[in-house]
Each structure stands twice: as structure tokens, then as C-alpha cells.
């Protein structure tokens, strides 16, 4: 089975709110605000693919990314944990893609790749947080999709997957080819590559395609857009926190319960 993992490079999601800014010109965080990293859910998706390879369910893992030239760092990272191949669909750094455009590029690339059986995407990219691309890719390929998966096993030709629904853990059997979106889980923390693997990864070739090479000319690419971005702003929070102090923990706990009762937020059973 050939698994393709959809990757994205995003701004470090741990940058604290106090430091976060948006450049009103570009409607994006200014360059250099924080490092750019492989998105957290993409890490989980990549790890799931590697685990499926470890147990023999997957023979080959390809990392696929649509992004500007600098984003290839995350493809190197995928090669360093032994993805077999890395494919880069290169766009201009100034292109702000909407989910439909991203899906158009990825679908065109997936059609160019050989016999793909499984596509793994993160549940959402931690920058624009749309959570759409995996599902759009599934629909455009006409493949089934299951979202928010955190465990997968190949049994009798079908992929068995587990995910957390609104109130229960759901276990599905999915016919291949299929698309999964992957969520975070303690079992899906991305492994580290060894120094040897890292060095080898830097020497590996990355396949690079332009949108035009994939049949998406400038006009087709522009026409694929379905969402226009209006304004982007950082909301201001006015702190109103009342700090509760006391002689010891018991005192603080009692005072907090008292304040909650006074504010009519919590009934005291006493």
C-alpha cells in the first residue's frame, strides 16, 4: 500500500498571544515573528503513516506539500523519519491559498503519483484552521473519508480506524483508497530521525512540480478560489481577574467557593 501524507509548514503555534501580530498589509503574521514548523496534526498524520509501515500495512510513504520554496524544510523532516519520497508543489510565497486552491494543487499532484491507496491529512492546519483540505481532496477523488482518526489497522483489505465522535469512540472499516484526517493522540507523537537519517535526508532529491506542470495555469488556479479573506485582527482582552490569596491552599479553596457563591455562579451545599 502506498500512503501519501499531506504536509504543511506553519508558524510556530506556541507563539504566545501577547506576541502575536498581524501585518495589516499582507493580512498575515509578519515574517520572522516565530519559526515555521511542520504543523502538529500533520506530525500526527506522518507518524500514523510510519506506524502503518512498521507493521507492514504500508510499503511506501510519500510526503506531499504545496507551499513556497522555504517550506521544503518539513519535507526534509519527513525524509529524516524515513518517508520514501518527498514531493513539493511550489507556489509563490505571496500566494495565500484558500482550502479549495490547496485541494486543487494536491489533487493534481496525487493524480500524478503512482497508485495511491491512502491519503493522510492533519485534521486542520494550525494557522488558518479551516479543517477542510482532507475532505475536499476525498470528494474530488471520489474517495471515502473518515475524520479525527487516531488509530488505524489493515485487516482483510479494509482499513479499520478509530476516532472520537461527540460522545463515543467509533470504530469504522473503510474501503481503500480512502482519505483520513488525523488528530492528536499520545500514541501519535512524531518520532525523531537519527543523525544518520537526517544527513541522508539532506542528500535526497525532492520532486518539485509547478502548478502549471500539473495542468493548473494561472487562470485555472485563480478560478479555484472560493473564499475571499476580509480583514484579520487580533482581539484585545481586558483582564478582569480577581486574584484570590489565603493562608494556605485550604483557605484559597474556601475563599474561591465563597466568591463563586457570592457571584451566584455556584451553589454552596453547606
Amino acid at each position: 500500500m502506498h500512503a501519501v501524507v499531506l504536509l504543511k509548514q506553519i508558524l510556530d503555534w506556541e507563539v504566545p498571544p501577547q506576541r502575536f501580530r498581524i501585518d495589516p498589509e499582507t493580512k498575515r503574521p509578519p515574517d520572522g515573528l516565530a519559526p515555521k514548523l511542520l504543523g502538529p496534526f500533520e506530525q500526527n498524520a506522518l507518524e500514523l503513516a510510519l506506524q502503518l509501515k512498521q507493521v507492514g500495512a504500508v510499503e511506501r510513504v510519500t510526503a506531499l506539500l504545496a507551499g513556497p520554496a522555504g517550506a521544503t524544510d518539513v519535507l526534509r523532516k519527513a525524509l529524516a523519519v524515513r518517508a520514501e519520497e518527498a514531493v513539493h508543489v511550489e507556489i509563490e510565497a505571496t500566494d495565500a491559498l484558500d482550502p479549495s486552491q490547496t485541494a486543487a494543487l494536491l489533487v493534481a499532484a496525487l493524480r500524478r503519483l503512482e497508485s495511491v491507496d491512502l491519503v493522510l491529512a492533519g485534521r486542520q492546519a494550525g494557522d488558518w484552521d479551516h479543517g477542510q483540505v482532507g475532505y475536499l481532496v476525498a470528494e474530488r477523488l471520489g474517495w471515502p473519508a473518515v475524520g479525527l482518526v487516531w488509530r488505524a489497522e489493515l485487516r482483510d483489505g479494509r482499513l479499520h480506524v478509530w476516532r472520537s465522535g461527540a460522545s463515543s469512540v467509533e470504530h469504522f472499516a473503510v474501503r481503500l483508497p480512502a482519505v483520513l484526517t488525523v488528530t492528536s493522540h499520545a500514541d501519535l507523537r512524531l518520532r525523531m530521525g537519527s543523525v544518520m537519517d537526517l544527513m541522508a535526508a539532506n542528500k535526497k532529491e525532492i520532486t518539485s512540480w509547478t502548478p502549471a506542470e500539473l495542468g493548473l495555469g494561472v487562470e485555472e488556479f485563480a478560478a479555484a478560489r472560493r473564499l475571499e479573506l476580509g480583514d484579520v485582527r487580533v482581539p484585545e482582552l481586558e483582564p478582569q481577574c480577581e486574584l484570590v490569596e489565603g493562608e494556605d491552599a485550604a483557605d484559597v479553596a474556601a475563599r474561591i467557593l465563597e466568591r463563586l457563591a457570592e457571584l451566584k455562579l455556584l451553589e454552596r451545599t453547606a
Partner: protein
Amino acid sequence: MIVAATWDVDDLGRAGCELVGAANRLGAALGAEVAFVSLAADGAGAAEAAGTHGAARAFVVLGDHAVSGSEGSVAALAELARELNARAVLLPADEQGGEVAPRLAERLAGTAVTHALAIEAADGRPVWTRPVFGGKALATVMATVEPVVATLRRGAFDPAEETGGSVSIEAREVPAGDGAVELLDSEAPAGGASLEDAAVIVSGGAGLGSAEAFSELEELARLLGGAVGASLAAVDAGWAPPERQVGLTGKAVSPDVYFALGISGASQHLAGIGSAKAVVAVNTDPDAPIFRTARLGAVMDCREFIGALVAELRRSAR
């Protein structure tokens, strides 16, 4: 038509009322009527309630929705949206809505807008506000195509008021699927009240330090008559199952009191608790962003606080 659809069982519930309320206001702004669709196995109660809250038409979709994952709901809504010439379809921003919205939008050659927090109509065109960068910023987006399939954050929209109207409920069936996705098992985790409906939530994060410390939240929740929540860090550490996660990538909750224990307050977490009436934050770091959102706070070790609070509640319960 503006279509609002939910998976609520029995009646409309708070989230369903919010959806219908948002649909009513969008419909009024665009000069369109509202249709409600229940995608629950037994949705007659919800459909009836939608009729008394402003919906002009109400549908139930009969059959097993769950067996095909989201496919049954996507196929049923696609048929109805075409039949009703829907300009917008509004869904809850929950696990199911997040999967249905993009797939449905694609099938209707429209576009999805996820996690909407507000809708305004400008020149007959809806403008949607949604959180981006893990809730650190808010963006407005407009669709260049119709229909828009949007998921709405719980707690962000005023619920519909009763209008006294009534509708006759129309029935449709879940279209037959191709069996590509088959639900084999659905296992509800043991114990734990629903996070969405809880009046009190005790939520733990990385500051708890261990699975053992996290497990003490169960007793605290029991004493407070509440539910246990978790931050992404606690879920990633394996201390809590994913369905307990609160935040942008988890659940949006609206309790009276939200205890954030050992949670620093990453934006993605804050995005899930904006509708809580009061946040009580306990953290060793006085500069933790959670204190900017909290109503009450204590700078101390949250494990000590939990122990003390449990003891205090036990003492007063006697």
C-alpha cells in the same frame, strides 16, 4: 432558503436553538426562508421545535445515519439543499459538522466556512467571522460561490425565540450508500457527564504533571456535579481521551464555572471557553495567559489546590 441542520435527539437543545436563531437572522437579512433538517435517528421533536422557533419548513431524515460515518448525512443534505435551492446550510461546529461541511460544500459546488463566530450581511452577501491561528486572531471571509455550508461555534449565537408558529414535518430518507465506510462499533466511554451540557467543568492541563494527578479531577467533578475537561496538552500526554478535549480542536463549552487547573491558556484552548460565564484559573505562573481571561484566579500549585478543594467540598457536604 437557509437550511439549519442538527444531529440533536429529541428536542432542539441549546445548540439547535442557536443554529435556528442564526438561520432566522441570516434569512431575514437575505430575504430567504428557513428550513430545518433533523439528521437524528428520531428527530421529530427537534423538527417540531424548529417550527415553533421560526422555521418555515421542517424535515426529518429517516434511517440509520451513523452506519456510514458522515456519508449518510452528506448525501441526505445534498439532496435537500438542491431541492430547497439553499443559499446557505448551517451546521454545528462539532465532530460531525466539521466532517460534513466541507464534503457537502464540495458536492454542491459551493464552499465551506468552518467555526463561524458571527455572521453579518453586507450588500446581500454574508460575511463570516472565524477564529484563525489557534484563536489568536479573528478573520472575516466571504464566499465567491454559493451555497455556503458553515459550521457555527456553540455559544456564539443568540438562540431563536419562540414565534408560536408551527409546521407540518416532512420526511425524507437517508440515501442508500455504497458501504465504503462501515461503522462496526461505537463505545461510549465509562462515566463522565457530557461536557457540552455541564454547568461546572473541571479541566486539567500540563501543570498537573501526571496521569495520576489528572485522575483526581474525577472526584472533584463528582463533588461539584460537573464534568471533567482537558487541554490539548493533557490529551497529548495520554491523561485524558480526545473526546474530553476543550478548545478549538476539541469542544466548545458554555458552563457557569470553568476551572482551568494547570492550564496556561493557549489561544486554541481559550477559543473553546469563550462562552463560559466565569473561568477560575489556578496556575503557578502569574503571567500565564489564562489569567487574562479568568474571573477568579490563584497563583499556586494546582495539585495542592485540587486536594484542598476536594477536602473543602467534602467537609461542607457532610
